[in-house]
Symmetry: C2
Subunit: 206 residues, 2 copies
């Protein structure tokens, strides 16, 4: 039952500074950056970081949550595209470009327990709108019947691995990879069935 009074002006400003500094540093050097480095970049003391975010984990959570917001927005924009297939291509392209530019992002999802929890949360928020994307494309005859939303997750994961390593200066490489995977999705006669939610969740656990 905390009253949750709004933060003081200076505290709000510092919170934003910390988040911005953290995103920038982690995008460049990965999640490994120490909170001392974050504090320095944000021009605040370590103590201030810890007052706003009880531990490193909650800072990462906050950062990641902001990213999921952006992805959800993108996906719903994409589902308004005239051509369903074009929508999927645009959506994946944009998300992957983000990932190529942000080294920390995929590291977070890969990182043990926390990654599993965040991936689960992200899936819950993202799946409905991705589901729409896939269904639309399938109804338009642009995807085989046995391709499901789980396959889009696989696609993102796979090309994301390339984008992560390639970085923003090597977009030709991950675009080639995306081209291969998209061609694979449209091909008939795939082996196996599209992974469902629980399977995808288990992907992150380990």
């Amino acid at each position: 039952m905390t009253a949750d009074r709004p933060l003081r002006r200076d505290a709000q400003r510092n919170r934003r500074r910390i988040l911005d500094a953290a995103r920038e540093l982690m995008a460049e050097r990965g999640v490994g950056v120490s909170l001392e480095q974050v504090a320095e970049a944000a021009e605040v003391g370590v103590g201030t970081v810890y007052r706003r975010f009880p531990d490193k984990e909650s800072l990462v959570r906050a950062l990641f949550s902001e990213h999921v917001d952006a992805v959800v927005t993108l996906a719903s924009q994409a589902s308004e595209s005239c051509d369903p297939w074009q929508g999927i291509q645009d959506f994946l392209g944009t998300v992957l470009a983000m990932q190529a530019a942000d080294r920390g992002l995929s590291q977070i999802l890969r990182g043990g327990e926390l990654g599993a929890a965040l991936a689960h949360e992200a899936r819950i928020r993202i799946t409905p709108v991705v589901d729409q994307l896939v269904t639309r494309a399938r109804n338009a005859g642009q995807l085989p019947a046995d391709v499901g939303p789980g396959d889009l997750v696989l696609a993102e994961l796979m090309v994301g691995a390339v984008a992560e390593r390639a970085g923003p200066d090597n977009s030709a490489t991950w675009r080639r990879a995306l081209s291969i995977v998209l061609a694979g999705l449209r091909a008939d006669g795939l082996v196996g069935t599209t992974p469902d939610g629980s399977t995808i969740d288990r992907l992150q656990g380990r």
Copy 2:
């Protein structure tokens, strides 16, 4: 000009023990395991580990090098398969199964500077024989003309990302991913060109 006299019996035995213990531990828990844990599992003192491997990095290098040996052997076996395409499928399947069972492996390649160096070294040793695989399949009309060895590297990287997360108990998931990618490689009309060696190298650098 070191004479490089062979190691004493007990030293040889300990070296093997250390490598075996390290591989097992890192496969299970990732590269993060401490050398103290490795020493304990190998039933030697930490000092012994450091006598054999000047630092953690050289232990990892030695481990990884043994893995590359295995992959090269697999690839050359695959290039003797009657059906070229079958050879590629078997090769990728086996390598990916290894990766699914060994958590440390992909972590090594992903890990900054060292990963870049090792990936480069691995590529030099593996490319020639993978090149053969691809050329054979292309000549047999089982692959489009614009698919090159760089695309096989991309394929391994992509499905490897899935296999790594899925683990050995979820092989259906990464097999589905492999199926998508292989279908994509065989499809005509891919966008872009196959990445060459230098591009692939840059993939690991970051």
